[in-house]
Every structure is written in C-alpha cells, then in structure tokens.
C-alpha cells in the first residue's frame, strides 16, 4: 500500500525526534529547563533565556509559544506555525480509555511510549451504574495492568481534573493532552493543557508526540479584587457573556494583571476549566507565589515562576474589573447566554448541583455550607453535592462542612463527575430545571432534552437551593 508508506515516511520523524530532517522539530528541551532557565531583570520581572532568535535577538513569547517551542525543540515559534511537539503528560478517563487502548493495540503498539507519563482515571460513571459500565471499567483495569501504566485512579478517587493538580502531576510549563475538553483546567498552574480525541490520543500514546498549530493568544487583564460572594466562576461566566463562546476559538487565553494574585488556586482552576467554553485551546494563569505554595505541598518540588515575556504579542487584550462584578448566571442552552443573577432571580428550580471539575473543590463546598448552616433547602428542590475528590470529601468531613450540608438537606454523592454530563446520579426529567456549578448547560446535557440547565457559582447555587428559586447570593451573604 504505497499511500500508507508515504504516510509513515512523512510522520516517521515523530519516532525520531533527534533527526529533525523535516525542519519542523528538534529534540524537545527537558521541562525543567523552561521554568529554571529564567533571568531576572532589574525591574524584578523574569524572562526565559531560551527564547533567543538565532541572531541573538530576543523575541517575546506568550506562555503557549514558550511551551510549544520548548516541546518541539525550537528557539522560537510564531502563531499560525505548525509544530510537532513532545507531550509531557497524557490523561484519559473511563469514557474513552477502553476504546483508546484497543485502538493502540490494533495499531500494533503493545504499550504507551512512556507508561509513567500516562494517567488513567475512572471518574465519569463511578461507581458503575450499569453492567455495560462495569464491563468497560474491567477492560480498562486489565489494559492498565497489561500496559504497565503507573498512575491509575480507580472509582472514588475523584475527577481527573482535580486529581492531576492534587496528586502533583502538573507543573508549570508542561504540555498536557487529555481525552477530555476540560484539560484546559491545568493552565491554572501554568501548564499547556488541551483536549484531543481518542484517535489522536492513540497516536500520542504510540509516539509521545502530536502536531499542534501555534495559537494566537488573547489576554484578559484582571484588575481589583472579587467582593464576596462574587467568585472566580462569575469572572469566567461574565467573560463568556460579554465576549461570546468563540472569542478564543483556536486561541490561547492568558490571564494577567494585579487581579490574578487575588484569586486562589481553586478559583484559577475554575476559570481555566471553563476556558474551553469560550473556545480556547489553553487557558493560562502565570505560575506565581500561590502556584508555588500549592505545588510545593503537592510535589515537594520548588517551582520557579513561569509566565509570558513582557514583550510578547497578543491578538487582543481585554480589561476586566473584578470590583465591579456581580454574580452571574448562564441561561439555557449556551454558556455565553449570561445575565447578572439579579435579572433572572425568581425562576423556580427543581434541582441544584454543587460539584464537577469546575466547582467541586473544598472552598466551593465551604461557601455552600456557609450559606446553608443552620438552614434547610426549600421543599421540592433537591440539592446534589459531589466532592471533586476523596481528599476533598475527607477534608469536608473533617471540618464539618459535610454535616452542615447533610443537615441542610443535601444528597452527598461519591467523588466523581456525578450528574454533570448526564450519565447518572441526578438526571433531569422533561420540563425540569436545574442550577449547577458545572460548566455546560447544553440542551440534553443532564438528562431530558426538555430540561433546562442554568450555571452559577457555588454561592448562587446554594442560595437558590435554599429558596427553591434562582436567587442573588448577596441576599444572604453580604461582603
């Protein structure tokens, strides 16, 4: 078959990163060099000394450009170029893992290129709600054993996008691909995380590499600080509402400005998680002192700051005033159909959902508990709470948050995706309405296509459960 031979010849360089005859890729620079290799300027800002033009003339690069340059062994890359880059971490979960490993085997590869760089998580349908799911889970466990995959999280450990940061798999500067669109989450820690499909992931698992188009970057400069109960979720919802669901189509996003330091790591994870909802390939925060503190506790490693060059070029820059922000709600059936909660207050809800890789973290559950302490949710409204990981569940139990939520009438589900994607555990019937802290309100996402999904912050969802109607959290919590 000459066609197949032509293909293998063309793509063969992926197997031989050191013989970059195609002019596209050289040896990937080890990850540590991108974060260590920095020099401080007199004004205290840092720049990456790798980033030198062949003539010695330095070109400013965005975070996406730095990471793709490093991973493809290039001194510089520019938006619009295509590169073949070495992947630092590959993530997959129970919806796709079984088929993925079958594709890999069928293509003639018995194990991943580097079994230590693959993370497999059972999180979407856990514990298995059907015999089919249980059978798929069994197949995944067998594949994992056979392929010698080191990092495997079985049912109950938590959602992949919580486990990756929490268990210390993520470091600034990494290139991470996942068979999940919300892999952008890891941009919160300065990593280039992005979603791909199973066929492309089979290619990554076989070769350790994948082609990428270097994206333009859109920058959002955050000013001021959030006034509680306004939350990081409200920031990203308001951006979706103001700029539209495709403002960052094929582009990377960088958050910058003095407001970044005001956001917690959990808040940044929420924002980067939803970067994909405005089309983004990556959703970056610079790695700063807060990132370093978080990662040191998780990895034991000392993490250098990592961010864009000050003279990097952006496709667009938008200013966001955190002080002026009100709680926001996305209305059915698109994430950019956003209004301030005050404009939709009073709409009755059948179900409230607090959880998901967007907002199932400890500070989210704490925020809900603060609102619901000593109170009970409205009769006729169900409150479903799903901690994003076993560690969060344990912490929530230890600090009394769990008991407060149970006393208020919440149903606590095991760590995992819960009803977020419509697989199980709290689906909606026709004509029902849900307000949730998750990231998507597409028609049919959580059960019946005739159901409606609204999205809000943990505070907005908790207070809406309390009154059985969409309610402004400032009614209960005043900053």
């Amino acid at each position: 078959m000459p066609a197949a031979r032509a293909a293998s010849a063309r793509f063969m360089h992926l197997h031989q990163p050191n013989t970059a005859g195609d002019g596209l890729s050289g040896p990937a620079v080890p990850l540590q060099d991108i974060t260590k290799d920095q020099t401080e300027r007199s004004d205290g800002t840092r720049f990456c000394i790798m980033n030198l033009h062949p003539g010695g003339h330095r070109l400013g690069m965005t975070m996406a450009e730095k990471i793709l340059a490093r991973a493809s062994g290039r001194a510089n890359v520019r938006p619009g170029e295509h590169v073949t880059a070495a992947v630092d971490l590959a993530l997959t979960h129970d919806i796709f893992a079984a088929d993925l490993f079958d594709l890999l085997s069928d293509s003639g590869f018995t194990c991943p290129w580097d079994a230590s760089k693959v993370v497999v998580v059972l999180d979407h349908l856990v514990p298995a709600p059907t015999v089919v799911a249980a059978t798929v889970h069994r197949r995944i466990r067998e594949h994992v054993r056979r392929m010698g995959i080191v990092h495997f999280y079985d049912a109950g450990a938590g959602i992949c996008h919580q486990l990756l940061p929490e268990r210390g798999h993520v470091r600034p500067g990494m290139l991470i691909v996942g068979t999940d669109s919300h892999t952008t989450t890891h941009g919160a820690l300065g990593a280039a995380g992005t979603g791909i499909g199973t066929s492309e992931m089979a290619y990554v698992l076989a070769t350790g590499r994948l082609w990428f188009r270097v994206p333009e970057t859109v920058r959002f400069i955050l000013h001021g600080r959030l006034r509680r109960p306004v939350a990081a979720k409200d920031v990203v919802l308001s951006i979706a509402g103001r700029f539209g669901a495709d403002v960052a189509q094929y582009r990377a996003i960088e958050f910058a400005g003095p407001g970044v330091a005001e956001l917690t790591v959990a808040g940044r994870l929420s924002v980067s998680n939803m970067a994909v909802e405005i089309g983004a390939k990556f959703g970056f925060f610079p790695a700063d002192a807060k990132t370093a503190t978080y990662l040191q506790a998780r990895t034991g490693a000392v993490v250098a700051p990592f961010g864009p060059d000050p003279d990097a070029t952006y496709a667009a820059t938008h200013e966001i005033d955190l002080d002026a922000l009100a709680p926001q709600v996305a209305l059915p059936h698109t994430v950019d159909n956003v209004r301030p909660v005050s404009e939709v207050a009073g709409i009755a809800v059948d179900q409230a959902f607090i959880g998901s890789c967007t907002n199932g973290r400890l500070e989210d559950l704490e925020q809900a508990a603060e609102i619901l302490r000593g109170r009970h949710i409205s009769t006729g409204t169900r409150l479903v709470v799903v901690p994003a990981s076993a560690e969060i569940l344990r912490e929530a139990e230890r600090c009394g948050v769990l008991a407060t939520l149970v006393d208020a009438g919440a149903i606590i589900l095991p760590p995992g995706c819960g009803p977020c994607f419509g697989g199980h555990q709290g689906l909606l019937g026709p004509g029902e309405r849900c307000i949730g802290t998750h990231n998507r309100n597409f028609q049919g996402r959580m059960g019946s296509p005739e159901a409606e999904i609204y999205l809000g912050s943990p505070a907005t969802v908790a207070v809406s459960a309390l009154f059985g109607r969409i309610t402004d959290p400032r009614r209960v919590l005043v900053a």
Partner: protein
C-alpha cells in the same frame, strides 16, 4: 484532493457535541448512536440523511466535549463533509483525525438553503451552490490535515508506523 458534491442539510450556531452524540449513549454501539444525531434540533436529519450529503452549520460547530463519537456519528450516516462558519477546535481536529472532511467557510449560511446541491472543491478550496451559482472560498487545510485525510484518518497513519516498528 478532490471535489465533493452533495445535498445540503443545514443547522444553526453552537451545535454541541451533546447534540451530535448525547452522553446517555456514551457506551452505545455506533449503529445506535448514529440514530440520535441532532435528534433534538433536527429530528429528520438522522432518519433521512443519505451517504454523500453535506452538513452546513453556523458558528462554533461541535462545541463541547472531546468525544470523537460526534464526528464519527456523522461519518457513520455517510455525511461527506461538514462546512461551517466556524468550528470548535477539538471537533475540527477529531473530524480530520477520523477522516471526515471539515472545512471552515465564513458566510456559507447565507448562500445555501437546505436541500441545495453543493460542490466543495478541496483543490481550489472553494464551495459553490450549484442551484444559484453562488461561490465562496473555504479556509485551506494544513498539510498535516490533508495528509491525514488522504489516508482516511490518523489511525491509518499510526498503523503504518506500527507495522514498520514491528
């Protein structure tokens, strides 16, 4: 590459992967999954689409999850190409990766109606409404994408690598 000639099906903006491949059928076989494509917004589509038809879509087509079943379901219905005002990034990559032609064509919605015969020229990167004669350029595909499409998907490329490395 080649010219695709097909009858047009038309959908609007922000068609999500949940509409193309509902989560409830995540583990269902392809024959079942393809029956539910777009059932919420265009119930006739999955029943009446014929091999060789072309799907014309609005902005942000395929937004949402990384599920490859979204383009796979369209391919299983025999859809020859998706022409959209714009695509969500992962859908576009996935379509190409499984060998489904997907091209971006700003303005396409204004020049075609459902049922129109459409010519998509993948050499000249243009579309023409055969009924009206209206024509528009489409965004060229990168060399990687063309290469993958020509071989029917990235797995064909991978299999060639796999058999070489054995």
């Amino acid at each position: 590459m080649r010219v695709i000639n097909g009858r047009v099906w038309k959908v609007g903006d922000s068609i999500s992967t949940d509409l193309l491949s509902p989560g409830a059928y995540a583990y269902a076989p392809l024959e079942v999954r393809r029956q539910h494509v777009l059932e919420t917004v265009h119930p006739r589509f999955a029943r009446e689409a014929r091999p060789g038809d072309v799907l014309v879509a609005g902005r942000n087509f395929g937004c949402g999850s990384s599920r490859e079943s979204a383009p796979e379901n369209l391919k299983a219905l025999g859809i020859a190409a998706v022409v959209a005002e714009s695509f969500a990034r992962i859908f576009l990559r996935n379509a190409i990766a499984i060998g489904l032609v997907a091209v971006t064509c700003p303005g396409i919605g204004a020049i075609v109606e459902e049922g129109d015969p459409l010519d998509l020229d993948l050499e000249a990167f243009s579309v023409t409404n055969v009924r009206t004669g209206a024509s528009l350029p489409v965004h060229p595909l990168s060399s990687e994408m063309r290469e993958i499409l020509e071989h029917g998907g990235i797995l064909a490329v991978l299999k060639a690598l796999g058999s070489r490395s054995r």
